[in-house]
Symmetry: C2
Subunit: 378 residues, 2 copies
């Protein structure tokens, strides 16, 4: 199936493993930076390699519309096109169809939508989503699914049947042996629907399973409850991918509940808006309290931005609208999440995950609270 | 005076030399990338070092307004603030006052202007321009000058007296022994005024001389005529800095007329708008003819962009508005000009400058002409 997964350590529900792909090994748990349009925004591949990013994600919806999956196939596929020789994952395009485009029509066969770029009409079916992803050539690809709001029971009930039928068709359509096709468990915040979805998809024996439909409006308590159910329902020997989660505290609590992979645009989006992760909480680098702060963004971080530049300089760049500011912030925020995942993995391997997670969360959340209360910068 | 210059080779009027500064040696002729707001737009210092940029320029007007020269002085000066350990040059702010701000009043003592950022009023005098540049701490700093349109004789005549008086005051005000203060020759396109200016400033014995007031609307023939006069008028043992020139063919023709240093925002500004230099002329990377072009921007270039990415990919990034596109284009265009200056230097040292220049110009200009005539991409 293109990949193999070996679960090597468990610590409570937390898991460490190795995912082998045609473009290299991935040590899990892993955070996957998002390169929507075949680039992690503002970050050259060279920097991602230097930060030891193991796998990055690209968006099928965007690349299908521009520059086109066939153009990318003629260039030798997405790895070669974007100059990234390590593993890649593409989503199915489903989530973006439901969130970015204007939907013209959903039926059991597929979805017709209007491009957010030029208003042109397009149609995704399960077969089309697979065909596009085969053209892109990522190591891991995803089934087309329908993405209802997680708290709408009736819609989730109806959508689930469609998502399951589409999973069957995706599986049948998929031909490339060097790619692994993951199923996506849906069912919103409803335990019976989640169980039904997990059982249906597990029976299809996918090489990995995504937890879809979360981090889109439900409460954190609901999100973590669903993740815990998933840990009970999904097979232990297959990787679990939590889609769309990238807040550091969420990543810790997700890994604590058995998640192996996660992706999110959060680190790069926050960066472009001036927010930085630090071990003492998230900070707004545009705040005037940093105007003469000669420390790096995070004194414990070893990224290029933190090794060479001060908060004062980066704040100046952000205030002046300079691209270099967005670049340095993006590098830092991604490096921060990659570090966090590596630290979690080491803690799992050494059987001290819970203590690590508690200490990390306490420090981070105390820092956030102190800043919200107007305490001076640390 | 902070620097020393040694003219090591001449070939016709073309010159090669070594400029020693407190932050290292500069091999001339040299192109200086512009870092207006304490960053070469979109390019991290690491890449400038990798491309062997020898000196970069920053703008006094911008940094005075934001984040402020005193803030930068408190951070240890501009080198430390921006993470650049090689030589730096700052302009006096005069050109930006005359081009970017709304001028409230010019008198013999100085100029009062309105910030382009927030409309606040500020005043530059010769003493203030030196004080700001001493706070910034560049290796080479410039006298405050008045910048009239080059073809307006009456204005140039009046402005010249002021520029000369200000040069005297700048020289008197300047205290830092680790900085070299350059004079700026003005006088528009008028030989008598240029001669008068060169004689006046040379008598003040500056460690280097800038040729100001060019590349702002006069004809190319006029520009090169003025540069030739300057070669006759300025002392051979001092560096000559042509301000604001960065078009490759202009750089060659300027070096052919005895110019040692030049700066321009052109490579980075063009890059952000999608135009790339190649040895076969300037190309618009957004052109659809590059959509499936798997070659690098310039097959003979060794920059990071050209070693790793295709025209097809970079065009996609530019079309998609991705920062990475502007980054790769900026790196390439700067590397291109740095390469060109190094190649010119080698040709001068080896006594084959004229043949090099003729061959280079013929190829570049033929490429531009072919493209203008609609020939297929090479």
């Amino acid at each position: 199936m293109g990949i193999s997964f070996q679960l090597t350590h468990t610590d409570g529900r937390a898991r460490a493993g190795v995912l082998r792909t045609p473009h290299g090994e991935i040590h899990t748990p892993v955070f996957m930076p998002v390169g929507t349009q075949a680039t992690v925004k503002a970050v050259p591949p060279r920097d991602l390699e230097a930060m030891e990013a193991q796998i990055i994600l690209a968006n099928t919806y965007h690349l299908y519309l521009r520059p086109g999956d066939e153009l990318i196939a003629r260039r030798g596929g997405l790895h070669r096109f974007m100059g990234w020789s390590r593993p890649l994952l593409t989503d199915s395009g489903g989530f973006q169809v439901f969130s970015l485009s204007a939907i013209r029509k959903i039926d059991d066969d597929g979805v017709t939508f209007k491009s957010h770029l030029d208003g042109s009409f397009h149609r995704f079916t399960p077969e089309k989503a697979i065909s596009i992803q085969e053209n892109l050539g990522a190591d891991i690809i995803m089934c087309l699914d329908e993405c209802p709001p997680p708290t709408d029971r009736d819609y989730n009930h109806i959508a689930l049947a469609r998502t399951h039928a589409w999973a069957v068709r995706c599986r049948q359509a998929h031909r490339r042996a060097d790619q692994a096709l993951f199923g996506i468990v849906q069912g919103g915040i409803f335990p019976d629907l989640r169980e039904q979805s997990a059982r249906f998809l597990t029976a299809l024996d996918f090489p990995g399973y995504a937890i879809g439909g979360l981090a889109v409006g439900e409460s954190k308590a609901d999100m973590f409850q669903v993740i815990t159910w998933m840990d009970d329902l999904l097979p232990a020997d297959k990787p679990r991918y939590l889609m769309g989660v990238g807040e550091p505290t969420d990543l810790i609590r997700a890994v604590a509940r058995g998640v192996d992979m996660a992706d999110c645009v959060l680190p790069t989006r926050l960066a472009r808006h001036g927010a930085a992760f630090t071990r003492d909480g998230r900070i707004n680098m545009r705040n005037r309290i940093y105007a003469e702060d000669d420390r790096p963004i995070d004194p414990e971080c070893g990224c290029y931005a933190c090794r060479h530049f001060s908060r004062a300089y980066i704040r100046h760049l952000l205030q002046a609208g300079e691209i270099l500011g967005m670049y340095l912030m993006s590098i830092h925020n991604i490096a921060f999440l990659l570090d966090l995942m590596r630290e979690m993995r080491a803690a799992i391997v050494e059987g001290r995950f819970q203590a690590f997670a508690e200490r990390w969360l306490a420090r981070y959340e105390a820092g956030c609270a102190a800043r919200d209360a107007g305490a001076p910068a640390r």
